[in-house]
Symmetry: C2
Amino acid sequence: MEGKAFQDTWPEWGSNCWGCGRNNEHGLQIKSYWEGDEAVCTWQPKKYHEAYMGALCGGIIATIIDCHCTNTAIAAAYKAAGRELGTEPILKYATGSIYIKLLRPARIRKPITLRASIKEMKKSKITVSCSLYYQKKLCASGEIVVINLDR
Amino acid sequence: MEGKAFQDTWPEWGSNCWGCGRNNEHGLQIKSYWEGDEAVCTWQPKKYHEAYMGALCGGIIATIIDCHCTNTAIAAAYKAAGRELGTEPILKYATGSIYIKLLRPARIRKPITLRASIKEMKKSKITVSCSLYYQKKLCASGEIVVINLDR
């Protein structure tokens, strides 16, 4: 993992997101890092994040994939502009769509790993693909379209 | 709204879901009811469910749409079988895919309303469409494919 977590570089007004805000004490507080051209996140669910019988809730899966991918899209936009993450003026993006395929149950007992990469980068939007693993088994895949709010 | 909330009829082992379990004190505890052929849910976000600046987090939107639609699919399967909700043997379904389009920010200040209806019902899977409103404005739409685990 390279450098600072993406989420630790955003300004205070962008630090309260329920899925990834470093200042949201009730939230999931995921952290995303570059690892070569991929962005990686490792996150430990809590007992109460289950759907039933120890399987991780699908909504939590959608949340961590969405937040990880949106953060990855913004980090990639900074990289493409040759700029340091989080420097002013802030590049403003927001999720446009979320597509998640649930392939097999992920569990809440041990950490979840997410691996995201940029599928397509346009001025108006960035498409990010993501795989979710539990104990090295692929449990879900996602595709998130992230809209450039400054376009 | 007609009858009991769907989530209040499931057995104890299905009552802990983070999105909709009546016994998950840390969860969102959404409640879904029939209103004619539509299933309706009204839910009040908490301050910490925001993405930023008072906009509802996309992951929370995905969660409540997923849970509302999956509950609706199961309720529709009971209805199609001419059976009372929650009666044994339990009809077992799980989310197969989640597609959410975020159209405009929903806010956290006032209640969110979800309206879902069955788009397609097969033996192997049920497809449910859903619209999410804030103050009567359409803010997100979703399509959830729910897999029959007994197929």
